[in-house]
């Protein structure tokens, strides 16, 4: 079942097209990565999902029916550009913002208390926001985003500005929330966190989606039939002995051992391994699966060239 569907969304601002015929399907319970270079249209799409702006054309569905105004109560959004009232007390602020998300005063109080205890920050309750460090403020912002227990959580660059410990804490909280049934849209430039967290992605460039799908299938789709082999003999033994089916992309000396990147022209990895074993002493052998970082760069550059 899909929690959120955007169909053929287009949005034009006075002098540029922010989104062109964009469709996104977000499966229930997934952590969905929304990727793309700066200015590609991600924030506009997120604002449309949050009903901050409306699309010019296209339709939006939430839980199988058309998105309606009340659905904002079921969405939690942590924008990239985020802030708090600096002069307001932390506790009051959390309660105020969650009441704006439709919680009653009692619920808001009770749930705020729960999260403050969970993060062990009860003593921040009466402090003014300006007394908190940036990292502390981000924790508060995270609490505000999730407090009303929405079905759909949207995080725009959630880890920027977090130290590794807090980033890890946050990551685990996100995974926890997903395990409890929430669906997460995750927009970031940090590709390693995409590989780590996301099950599906969409890549937006210049207002269009240029790549989408399950992250594992995308990565195997971008395999270039390249293998990395580490061996302990002379490099010459390899370069001279390798058959024409395979070509060496790169070969180097590394920490007393040799490492080569070899591409298959024809045949399979097994045939390459057989060939290698007959030539050198193989220490390790593995297929090179491209990282999301490489795929991102490759796909965006291709699409920019095509445009």
């Amino acid at each position: 079942m899909d929690l959120f569907v955007a169909e053929n969304i287009s949005k034009r601002f006075s002098n540029h097209l922010a989104l062109e015929d964009v469709s996104v399907i977000i499966p229930q319970g997934s952590i969905y990565g929304l990727l793309g270079p700066n200015g590609a249209g991600k924030t506009t799409l997120l604002r449309i999902v949050n009903q901050i702006t409306g699309p010019d054309t296209g339709e939006l569905f939430f839980n199988g029916r058309k998105l309606k105004a009340d659905d904002v109560y079921n969405i939690g959004y942590l924008p990239e550009e985020r802030g708090l009232y600096r002069k307001m007390k932390v506790g009051e602020q959390v309660v105020y913002l969650s009441r704006l998300k439709g919680l009653s005063k009692n619920d808001a109080l009770q749930k705020s208390k729960y999260w403050f205890e969970k993060f062990q920050i009860e003593d921040w309750w009466g402090k003014k926001v300006e007394e908190l460090s940036k990292g502390m403020q981000q924790k508060i912002q995270f609490i505000i985003t999730v407090l009303h227990e929405p079905e759909l959580l949207i995080f725009d660059e959630p880890f920027s500005g977090f130290d590794p410990i807090n980033a890890n804490l946050l990551k685990n909280e996100i995974l926890d929330l997903r395990n409890q049934g929430a669906t997460v849209i995750f927009s970031t430039h940090n590709m390693s966190s995409v590989e780590e967290l996301c099950s599906d992605i969409s890549l937006i460039n210049r207002s269009k989606i240029i790549l989408e799908g399950n992250i594992q299938s995308i990565r195997s789709q971008y395999k270039s039939n390249t293998f990395k082999v580490v061996f302990s003999d002379d490099q010459e033994k390899l370069t001279k002995g390798l058959t024409d089916s395979f070509s060496i992309v790169e070969i180097k000396h590394k920490q007393g051992l040799n490492e080569a990147l070899i591409q298959l022209n024809v045949g399979t990895g097994n045939e390459l391994l057989k060939n290698l074993v007959s030539l050198v002493h193989v220490i390790s052998f593995q297929e090179v699966i491209p990282g999301m970082n490489d795929i991102f760069i490759q796909v965006v550059e291709q699409s920019n060239l095509a445009a």
């Binding site: 924008p79 985020r82 600096r86 105020y96 913002l97 704006l100 998300k101």
Partner: protein
């Protein structure tokens, strides 16, 4: 609870709890009370002191004249606080030399050529008050006038009989009958009301703008806007601050009244028949809705000697203004004017990134407001003129100009018409501002022009 209400509540509570609000609430009334009491108090201090002015007369040959030759002896009448001592054969230089020890307030020097040179001199180490100067001038003028007439053999009786003293009393016809009124007082009240509205619109309108710029630069708006519609956020802020303004003004009125009443009763318990003290306090107690004066005051009034009748006259005039009506219209036009301008302030706040960028968009706000303030002088002089009428109908100037006209008892339909137009314009302006606002609050780092704002009016959501 409705979300707009939540926004209103937050805006109101955070501001009312601020130190600056509390300080302003206390300082304001102290200042107002001081403005009302201190001038009267100073006047009473000054008046109680009996002053003696020495008069010397010089002949046309520029010599001091002996008693027998003094032309102006006993010409200037004494007043409650002024006495004149005529010094024959006394040189001006001698007086000057011994001035400090002599205890004279001033020395009046009358050369006998005054009959054609028309000039006397008043010497003092202090600056003598205008009242003193006027008193001397009119006495000598009158004496010389009579002297001149007598040259034509007109008898003193004839002169005295011919002399009349005319005052024009302004009396207003009202439904309850006739009322003595004071044009001067109406002008003062009108100016004060208009000026206060001008200040308050700026002060609280700027708070709206600052609040919006703050939310924008904080980026909290990005978070809030997912749960509240931009219009709800904007109107919540405007209404919240309006309530802060009304609270502040109400506190000012109540506290000022309290302070002045307190001082008044203290003063009257101290010295009951001191008439001079009556003036300022009474002005206020009537202003505050005609609260009946306390008993000692009534007694004091009954004991007034006849030369205080003028003061009594002032009091009647002060009471002639309809303060309840003035107060109600004040609140009504402050609110309308504030709402109209707050909507404009909100649009500006949404379009800029920092408060320092405000300048380029402030003109549409400052020009009509300052224009209204400038025209107030004209309006106060001719409250019934066509221009005054239109200035009090056009919504951008009406809150200020109407306040200036109100004490002159203008027709009710004009007040109503002005009010209706003001509030309709406010609704229209809010709708336009909301369109600019919802685009503006999510725009960062862009230098916005008027052309851009105009385009935002037509953006689709």
């Amino acid at each position: 609870m409705n979300k707009t209400n939540l926004v209103i509540k937050r805006e109101y509570l955070t501001r009312v709890r601020k130190k600056s609000f509390i300080i302003m609430s206390i300082l304001g009334p102290l200042l107002f009370a001081a403005l009302m009491i201190i001038p009267g108090w100073l006047m009473s201090l000054e008046n109680k002191e009996m002053r003696t002015i020495a008069v010397v007369e010089y002949s046309t040959a520029n010599k001091p004249v002996p008693d027998s030759l003094m032309l102006f002896k006993d010409v200037i009448p004494e007043t409650a606080y002024l006495r004149f001592t005529y010094l024959p054969s006394t040189r001006l230089e001698t007086l000057r030399h011994n001035f400090e020890e002599s205890g004279y307030y001033a020395v009046l020097f009358i050369p006998q050529n005054i009959t054609y040179a028309h000039q006397a001199k008043l010497y003092s180490t202090k600056q003598p008050g205008l009242e003193v100067k006027n008193h001397i001038e009119s006495a000598i003028e009158k004496y010389l006038y009579n002297l001149n007439l007598r040259k034509y053999d007109i008898s003193l009786d004839v002169i005295n009989n011919a002399q009349t003293n005319i005052t024009v009393q302004t009396i207003k016809w009202t439904d309850e009958g006739e009322k003595r009124s004071s044009t001067g007082l109406s002008m003062v009240v009108g100016y004060a009301g208009g000026f206060l509205i001008y200040i308050l619109i700026f002060a609280f309108g700027a708070q709206v703008m600052r609040g919006i710029v703050d939310e924008k630069t904080n980026r909290i708006v990005e978070v809030i806007i997912t749960s509240v519609k931009p219009f709800q956020l904007m109107s919540g802020k405007i209404i919240g601050i309006a309530l802060v303004g009304l609270t502040q003004i109400l506190l000012w009125f109540v506290l000022t009244f309290g302070i002045v009443q307190g001082i008044e009763s203290y003063v009257y318990n101290q010295k009951i028949p001191d008439v001079e003290q009556l003036k300022p306090q009474d002005i206020l107690s009537t202003e505050m809705g005609g609260v009946s004066k306390n008993a000692p005051q009534e007694q004091a009034k009954q004991e007034l000697p006849s030369n205080i009748a003028g003061l009594d006259d002032i009091l009647v005039k002060i009471k002639s203004l309809n303060y309840t009506k003035i107060l109600i219209t004040f609140f009504f036009f402050f609110l309308g004017g504030y709402l109209l301008y707050a909507a404009m302030f909100a649009a500006i706040g949404s379009a800029i990134d920092t408060e320092t960028d405000t300048q380029q968009f402030m003109l549409p706000i400052t020009i009509p407001l300052i224009f209204a303030l400038i025209t107030m002088g004209y309006v106060l002089n001719t409250p019934e003129s066509g221009l005054s009428f239109w200035l009090s109908i056009i919504p951008f100037t009406s809150p200020i100009v109407m306040m200036a006209r109100i004490p002159f008892e203008i027709p009710v339909w004009q007040v109503l018409l002005s009010g209706i137009i003001l509030y309709l314009t406010f609704i229209l302006m809010t709708a336009l501002s909301a369109k600019i606002y919802r685009t503006g609050i999510l725009m960062y780092g862009k230098k916005v022009s008027y052309k851009e704002l105009w385009k935002w009016l037509f953006y689709r959501r």
